[in-house]
Structure formats: structure tokens, C-alpha cells
């Protein structure tokens, strides 16, 4: 120690030979303010850039939005083309995805959180769900192409609404499961214990006590997952959703298109007029997403007030 003290260059603080301790506060504060300026700039830049992008799309597409645009079929002439088949296709797909993924995801979440013992099986499923969240969506499209379009063609009708919706349902299943588990975990254990003490079985406790309390969170998570499915393009292109559909789907086995695919198709055309159409399509798509996001928030607030 004595040796250290007499030799400042070996001091653990790294002081130079001129003195062991130099605070240089003004210099450090100057770097500090530069750093905080950089941090604020980053946030401002991020928000500004995204606002600019959305503002640009609004300016480009707003003039094209009209009732005719929403109720016309696609056309080779940009001025006559509309969103009808894409809009109807999106609604069909969304309803099926919700009907399939909600019970599956909530059931699996309830099983993992309330019924499964802490076994290797439950842990394996948990690791598996985490891994699925990192798989690119286009890979789900390849799975859907093989399983739903090829193997299950007699049931799904090949490149149909049903194949597309089932693919998207698998895609958002991990999200629904995770949302369910988190909402269930937020319900206090004392409630379950009270139920058991009254002689209720585990299912009765889950069904009558826990689920009603967890429902707002589960619904919000599911709607957010659905809004992710609405924006997905790549898996549906892979399973073969068409880009030009001039009729409305009649049953689950009909060919289909959806909003993002119609937008993709218009963007990739060279004519300027189709780009305007795509901007208007994006406004509709973002509008649908905004509607879903805000209904998720409203639903949560409404249900939370009732309990």
C-alpha cells in the first residue's frame, strides 16, 4: 500500500504524475451536456422521421380516398381501381384468425399457467414458444404452403382464405399465449386459494374467479396480436394469395387477397397513379389498425371498471 501511495502513476485511479486526483468538472459537464443533447436529438429524430413518413402518405393518398375507392374492384385503370376485394378479404381472414387463435392460445395459456406442473414438458413448451417468436414470418408462409395448401388441400381448397388464415393463426399463437399467461399471472394467488378453500375444483376456480379478472388483459393482447396479423404480407404471398381479384369470396375455400397485398401490388407497379392508390390503401390499412388498437384500449378500460 505504501508503495502504491508513493507512486501515483500506479494508483488504481490512474492519476497522472502531475497529481493524483483531477476532477476537471467543467470539462466533464460539457461532455455531459453533449451526451444529453445527443439523446434528446435521437428521440426527436425518431419521432420526426416517423411523423414525416406518415404525413407524406396522408398527403399523397388523402385525395384518392372516396366511397368509390372502398367499393370498387381492382382494375387495370388506376382511377377506377378500388379496395373492395382486399377489404372484404382482410375481414374474412381476421374473423377466422380470431376464431382459431383465441381459443387455442387462451387454452394453451391457461394450461401452462394453471394446470401444468413444473415439469420438463412445461419447460420445453415454454422454450419452444420463445423460439417461435424469433422465427421470421415468411418461414410460417413456407410451413403454410406445405401443410395447408398441399397436404390439406381437400379441406382447405389449396390457395384459399382458410389456408391463409390458418397460417396467420399459427403466426400469432405465441403472442396470444404469452399475453394470456401474463394476465393470468397478474391475478393474485389469494383468490385461487380462497376458491380452493371453498371446495371448488381447479377448473371451477379458473373459470369463475381467475378468468373474468384476467380477461381484459387477454382480450387486449389478442387484439394487438390480430392487428399484427392484419399487416402481414410475406406469409400470404408465399402461400399464394392473389394480387388481382375481381370478385368477393363466397366460402372458406375461395381465392383471396388482403389489404397489404393489394398495397404491395400497387407500389410495385411503375405508374404514378397506382402509387397514389397505394398511399390511399395504406391510409385505410393504418386506419383499420388504429381502430383495432384504440378498441383494445377502450375494451380494457371498460372491463377494468366493471371489476
Amino acid at each position: 500500500m505504501a508503495n502504491l501511495a508513493s507512486d501515483p502513476s500506479r494508483s488504481p485511479l490512474g492519476g497522472g504524475s502531475k497529481g493524483r486526483f483531477k476532477s476537471e468538472l467543467s470539462k466533464r459537464y460539457r461532455i455531459d451536456s453533449l451526451f444529453s443533447a445527443a439523446a434528446w436529438t435521437a428521440v426527436t429524430l425518431l419521432v420526426l422521421v416517423l411523423a414525416l413518413l406518415i404525413g407524406d402518405v396522408l398527403v399523397d393518398g388523402a385525395a384518392r380516398l372516396s366511397w368509390d375507392f372502398l367499393t370498387s374492384f381492382p382494375s387495370r385503370k388506376a382511377e377506377e381501381a378500388g379496395l373492395l376485394s382486399a377489404l372484404v378479404g382482410t375481414i374474412w381472414v381476421m374473423v377466422i384468425v380470431a376464431v382459431v387463435s383465441f381459443p387455442l392460445g387462451v387454452g394453451a395459456g391457461i394450461y401452462l399457467e394453471e394446470f401444468a406442473e413444473d415439469s420438463w414438458f412445461a419447460r420445453a413448451i415454454e422454450i419452444n414458444i420463445n423460439n417461435l417468436a424469433g422465427v421470421p414470418s415468411i418461414i410460417y408462409g413456407l410451413l403454410g404452403l406445405q401443410v395447408f395448401v398441399r397436404w390439406m388441400e381437400p379441406i382447405t381448397g389449396g390457395r384459399s382464405i382458410l389456408s391463409g388464415a390458418l397460417t396467420l393463426a399459427l403466426l400469432i399463437l405465441p403472442v396470444v399465449i404469452v399475453a394470456t399467461r401474463e394476465s393470468l399471472r397478474a391475478v393474485p394467488d389469494s383468490l385461487r386459494q380462497a376458491g380452493f378453500a371453498l371446495g371448488a375444483t381447479r377448473w371451477q376456480v379458473v373459470c369463475n374467479q381467475v378468468l373474468p379478472l384476467a380477461l381484459p388483459g387477454i382480450l387486449t393482447g389478442t387484439i394487438l396480436a390480430l392487428s399484427r396479423a392484419i399487416g402481414e404480407t410475406a406469409p400470404l404471398i408465399t402461400i399464394g394469395a392473389l394480387t388481382f381479384i375481381s370478385f368477393l369470396p363466397e366460402d372458406l375455400q375461395s381465392p383471396f387477397t388482403v389489404l397489404p397485398i393489394q398495397v404491395f401490388n400497387w407500389i410495385s407497379r411503375p405508374q404514378e397513379a397506382f402509387h397514389t392508390n397505394s398511399a390511399a390503401g395504406i391510409i385505410v390499412l393504418l386506419g383499420v389498425l388504429l381502430l383495432m388498437n384504440s378498441s383494445a384500449v377502450l375494451l380494457r378500460n371498460y372491463l377494468q371498471k366493471r371489476h
Binding site: 459537464y29 461532455i31 455531459d32 451526451f35 444529453s36 439523446a39 434528446w40 435521437a42 428521440v43 425518431l46 422521421v49 413518413l53 407524406d56 402518405v57 399523397d60 381459443p103 387455442l104 392460445g105 387454452g107 394453451a108 394450461y111 401452462l112 394446470f115 401444468a116 420445453a124 419452444n128 414458444i129 424469433g134 422465427v135 421470421p136 414470418s137 415468411i138 418461414i139 408462409g141 413456407l142 410451413l143 406445405q146 401443410v147 399463437l173 399465449i177 371446495g199 375444483t201 381447479r202 377448473w203 394487438l224 399487416g231 402481414e232 404480407t233 410475406a234 404471398i237 408465399t238 397489404p260 404491395f264 407500389i267 402509387h275 398511399a279 390499412l285 393504418l286 389498425l289 388498437n293
Partner: protein, 309 residues
């Protein structure tokens, strides 16, 4: 006066057998639902391996890994996967060099500098922005950013990796910012107080105490963003072009792995054809790439996680 007729035991029937059956049925059915997610994983791996295996019966593994051209639809077909991999790596590299500084600084600002009120507005906003569909960003990349970059960069072609990469970076920035912010704000206040007590300034505290403590969370958020960028499809298909080309020149059109899958899917690919198998071989490469990243992230988090109780 007793409300319960104690002497009449027939009124109270514990339906134990029925309850036990319902219980078992519920457990079985929900357990099956949980198995669907396992089946998805198995299905993905099985179909990819099966079709890739079929692919390698027609194309040798050596030429897949060493060819310097990607021309699967030509008569003299060549299958050099690294042509597509180089494009994907370059696009993700550009994206992460935009998203890392922007996202990390935003996360620091939100958790350390912004007031709680501002934070409560910006955080949900980031999460909404993270949910914007990628086809929308594809529109921005092709019709807004490319013309802008062309006006300041001479020789930039209509389709190029630069604007696709930059917009890809912007699209994953909210994810980096949001997840890194979670990691940074999970660092306990006592650590910051300790650093201040030792005379550190705010910046010194953040850089040498808070960020190292949140390192595992930050790294895993960045890796997740990179694997998003690698798997991202619409931006790179729309703005980077459809021109397979080996090399790392960001000013010319390139073709990413996902862009090839889209291009081939939009064409006619009957099951069993070589084009069909090629899609799966590219998908397999994509899957392996993201899997390696996920495993690395998993290992890193376990190795470097700091726990504060």
C-alpha cells in the same frame, strides 16, 4: 332456525365424479392446445429439412455454398446462396447501424432524461410505431427515401440497398428503443445513487454503471432486431430490387433471401419442381441464420445477466 335442512342429506350432493371428469377433460384439451405450438415448431423444421433434402438431391451442396451466381430460373442454373446471403447481411448491417445508435440513445433518453409524463406518452407511441406493417415502410423506402437519396448521392440506382437498409433500420428502431428502455429502467436506482455518491456525473453513471448493468437486455434486444431485419421481407423486396449480385455495394440493386422467396412465390412454382424446392432451401438458410442469432442471444443473456434483488 337453521337455513340448511341438516337432517336432509339428499339436498347436498358433491358431484365429485363429474367434476373430476370435467377437470381431466379440460386439462387434456388445453394440454393439446399447448402442443399445437410444439407441433408448429416440428412442422417448420420438418418441412424445411424435407424439401431442402430433396433440393440437395438435384443440386450439390458444394455448388450451393461456393457458386458465385444465383440464377435458379435460367437454363444454366447456378445456386450460389452466398449471393443472397451477402445482400441480406449488407441490408441488415446498414439497418442496424441506423437502429443501434438511434434506438439506444432514445432508450437512454426515455429512461434517464425524460420526465415520467413525457415517457408515458412516448413509450406507447413507440409500441404503436413498432406495429406499423412493413409494406408501409416499403412504400416509404421506394417512393420517398430513394428519390431523396438519389438527389444527394450521384449514381444511386432506382432500386438500391442503401435506402432499403436505412428504412429497414428506421422500422426496427422502435423495437430496439422499447426493449432497451425496459432493460435500462430495470436497473435499480441504488446503483445510480452509488455512482453519484462516488462523484460520477450523470453521463458517467449511465455509461459506466447503468449500461453495463443492462447489457444483457440491450444485447438481446439488438439481436432480436437484427433477426427481424434478416427476416424482413416487404421493404427489401420493394426497394432493394430483384437483382442477385455478389458483393457489398449499397448503391446498386441486390436481391435478399426473402426477396427471392417472394419473387419465386409470385411466379408459378408447382409442387415438386426445382423452383419449389429452391424456395425451401433458401428458407432453410434463413431459418438457420436466425436460429444461430437466437441461440447466441440466449447464451449471452444467461452468461452476462446481472441480477439485482
Amino acid at each position: 332456525m337453521s337455513v340448511l335442512p341438516v337432517n336432509d342429506t339428499s339436498l347436498w350432493k358433491p358431484t365429485r365424479l363429474l367434476n373430476r371428469r370435467v377437470e381431466l377433460a379440460v386439462k387434456l384439451i388445453f394440454g393439446l392446445f399447448a402442443l399445437v405450438s410444439v407441433a408448429t415448431t416440428i412442422g417448420i423444421i420438418a418441412t424445411l429439412i424435407f424439401e431442402t433434402f430433396e433440393f440437395f438431391r438435384e443440386v450439390s451442396m458444394v455448388s450451393f455454398l461456393t457458386d458465385s451466381k444465383w440464377t435458379p430460373l435460367f437454363s444454366s442454373a447456378q445456386f450460389g446462396i452466398f449471393v443472397l446471403v451477402s445482400a441480406t447481411v449488407m441490408l441488415s448491417g446498414i439497418a442496424i447501424s441506423v437502429a443501434l445508435p438511434l434506438g439506444l440513445l432514445s432508450a437512454i433518453c426515455l429512461s434517464e432524461y425524460a420526465s415520467p409524463k413525457l415517457r408515458s406518452i412516448l413509450k406507447p407511441l413507440l409500441e404503436v410505431l413498432a406495429g406499423i406493417p412493413s409494406v408501409v415502410f416499403g412504400y416509404f423506402a421506394l417512393l420517398l427515401v430513394t428519390p431523396f437519396l438519389q438527389s444527394i448521392t450521384p449514381g444511386l440506382e432506382g432500386f438500391n440497398a442503401l435506402s432499403a437498409g436505412v428504412v429497414l433500420g428506421v422500422s426496427i428502431t422502435p423495437l430496439v428503443a422499447s426493449l432497451s428502455e425496459d432493460a435500462i429502467s430495470a436497473v435499480p436506482q441504488s446503483l445510480r445513487d452509488g455512482a453519484y455518491a462516488l462523484g460520477a456525473t450523470k453521463r458517467e453513471t449511465i455509461i459506466s454503471v447503468v449500461l453495463p448493468a443492462a447489457l444483457s437486455g440491450i444485447v438481446s434486444s439488438v439481436i432480436l432486431a437484427v433477426s427481424r431485419a434478416i427476416g424482413e421481407t416487404m421493404i427489401v423486396t420493394l426497394a432493394a430490387g430483384q437483382h442477385p449480385r455478389l458483393g457489398l455495394n449499397p448503391f446498386v440493386p441486390v436481391m435478399a433471401m426473402t426477396a427471392f422467396i417472394v419473387q419465386a412465390s409470385l411466379g408459378d412454382t408447382p409442387a415438386g419442381s426445382l423452383a419449389y424446392k429452391t424456395i425451401y432451401a433458401v428458407g432453410m438458410s434463413l431459418f438457420v441464420l436466425t436460429l444461430i442469432l437466437n441461440i447466441f442471444s440466449f447464451w449471452f443473456v444467461r452468461r452476462f445477466r446481472e441480477k439485482y434483488e
